[in-house]
Symmetry: C2
Subunit: 431 residues, 2 copies
Amino acid sequence: MNDFVSTADTATSGEAIEREITALCQRAKRAGRGTARLGDRTRAAALEQAAGRLRRESARIQSENARDLEAGRAAGLSGALIDRLTLTPERIEAMAEGLTVVAGLPDPLAEPIARWEVPSGLDIEQVRIPIGVVGVIYESRPNVTADVAALCLKSGNAVVLKGGKEALHSNSVIADLVSDELEKAGVPEHALQLVRSTDRRATEALLGQEAYVDVIVPRGGPGLVRAVAEHSSIPVIKHYEGLCHTYVDAQADLAVAEEIAFNAKVQRPGVCNAMETLLVHGEVAAAFLPSVAARLRAAGVELRGCEQACRLLPEAIAATEDDWRTEYLDVILAIKVVGTLDEAIDFINEHGSGHSDAIVTTNEESAERFLREVDSATVYTNASTRFTDGFEFGFGAEVGISTNRLHARGPMGLRELTTYKYLVRGNGHVR
Amino acid sequence: MNDFVSTADTATSGEAIEREITALCQRAKRAGRGTARLGDRTRAAALEQAAGRLRRESARIQSENARDLEAGRAAGLSGALIDRLTLTPERIEAMAEGLTVVAGLPDPLAEPIARWEVPSGLDIEQVRIPIGVVGVIYESRPNVTADVAALCLKSGNAVVLKGGKEALHSNSVIADLVSDELEKAGVPEHALQLVRSTDRRATEALLGQEAYVDVIVPRGGPGLVRAVAEHSSIPVIKHYEGLCHTYVDAQADLAVAEEIAFNAKVQRPGVCNAMETLLVHGEVAAAFLPSVAARLRAAGVELRGCEQACRLLPEAIAATEDDWRTEYLDVILAIKVVGTLDEAIDFINEHGSGHSDAIVTTNEESAERFLREVDSATVYTNASTRFTDGFEFGFGAEVGISTNRLHARGPMGLRELTTYKYLVRGNGHVR
């Protein structure tokens, strides 16, 4: 849905777009240096002020939003997309409240990392600093504009936003109001900028600004993430969907296992931390599967099983090799019976996506082996994989759930929008 | 000099090479899971054993090395390249000693990161783990084979090595001996593998293995780093040269400033942390520049100055805009007189490469402002930029000096070859 995949506007030359985006990113880089120097009090107050402004100008936001909705309906957008695009007074209030919440979070830059003295006598301090300029490319929800601006600013970064074409008027008014208040509160001009060109070449140009933009965070479906990752010369923090497993061990409390498996599959099947594959130890398969399967079926879940599972569950259809590698994001569950804990661990490491995987067991040794040996960003014992989430982790904010292995892995809070540098204090030291 | 830029060997099909490299990387991925589970005692003992084997088989290593040297001379390699390629008994001993030193370093995986309980009652632990599979692409020094293998294994990673074509026999025998000893000590097979194809398509194939290789570390000149970064779909830890500044403040001890500036430029001009540009506050330029310039000239340094600097230094030639943006890596120094601390900071942020920059001052406030506001990986007060180095930082090893902003920034120790995951312990938790 992002204009990234829409056609080029041939009225403007590619060079003009490139120049415009380069200039915008240069301004962001300069602004970022100033933003990094702001105290937390200024950053927090600026976000509070921006929240107030959004509340006061709710009517104006709604009227700009109405322009997007009208154009969207005329263009035949689906009901689901129109819903995502719609800003009601309640949603505007929630957006403002979101700014206030982020404003009040602990300063991610305050925390020291390390300090030590080396034998030469140099005093080395490692301190947390903002990444610099964060580029965020997102789809149709206009509230992301305020949300992301708050997360980036609270962590001392400048931000370049590129939203979906269909939300341009909504995004523009939100960005204008927020950035106007930020400036009044002492945040450098251009700390928050929105790319307003709807030409896909603008997005491509943004992804080539490695001299000025330090990281790209795509917020949207896997199609957007993949397109961004492919075209970007800038590091991308990716968040692909997860192919999550729950493994019910031979020594599991089967009532607990049923609750966890049911929750992991059914509570919200369309999200990345929902279970896609259920693994069950052969010793408990007959005792466990029929009961949980009945509950899953009653909740509308289609079951696809290995041969052994299908023998226990006549309603299940035979799973193919593809099923073990598919992120359904839907009310479908693949079920496999395994012979050992090792087989479960190996299966997850071979077929999973390294997102979130759980074991249900009362055997502490098996639990600890699973935790250590499953090579995923978040590994659970006796809990639903649905807890992989910035809020549930206590980060107070949700920047995303990274599927990268480096820099940020798993749920991302404000700290994952920071990096570090070394301050080295000498006394005339030479080598 | 890396075969990455050599021509393709048309006798083997691209597909065959691709298949071979894919299979090798798959094996590495599997081996990496096993390597991650080894205790530090096993990792350390394996490296000690490998060191002993290199010592015992010094003659064999030299005879394989002689084959490379003979081919290199026949191919007309320069004296400098032949020297880099040469393995003397002393260099083999140093290589073995390097393995022993890395073996004895503190375990980078032992250190806990954080553990907390969230209101839902979940216990969340963040632990350090190996990155997984590290791909290292390097040039003509065969000792890198042992060096890198040690760093990767000590941090629990599997490693895929791709050395220069001209060192193939030397690299092969070192890799064979080390990996043979690793296996005997209980390290999984394939934890250390060398790509032996000298076809550049093998390197290209390696850079496309994002399913199995988690990070690429190029070790070599900027040409190699750039080529790797451009072709890789895997995250690359880059280490480009540094354009480092020393700023002599109005309130500097000029004798200290002279020692620091001289050291930063002259001690080893061809390395990334050597000074390229000297900034001097206008108030002390006349008192400072003539004396340090005479010393620099005596050491063979060519001086290129701004208008003001040239007035004070008749021997200096006029600097052009290019000089402020050039990493000489040579006995050339650009000199600029600035009016204020702010001008110095802004100049460095605009022209530097974010590697290492220093202020010389006795004014604590200026020192602290410089530390905070210069946007470089390592910022110094009253010390030579030459200290940016893993050993000088006390890391006990030198993986490289990263010019990335994310994941690893500045000098890299073993810890920078690790990432993290979350272990979440529940008690039947569902959402």
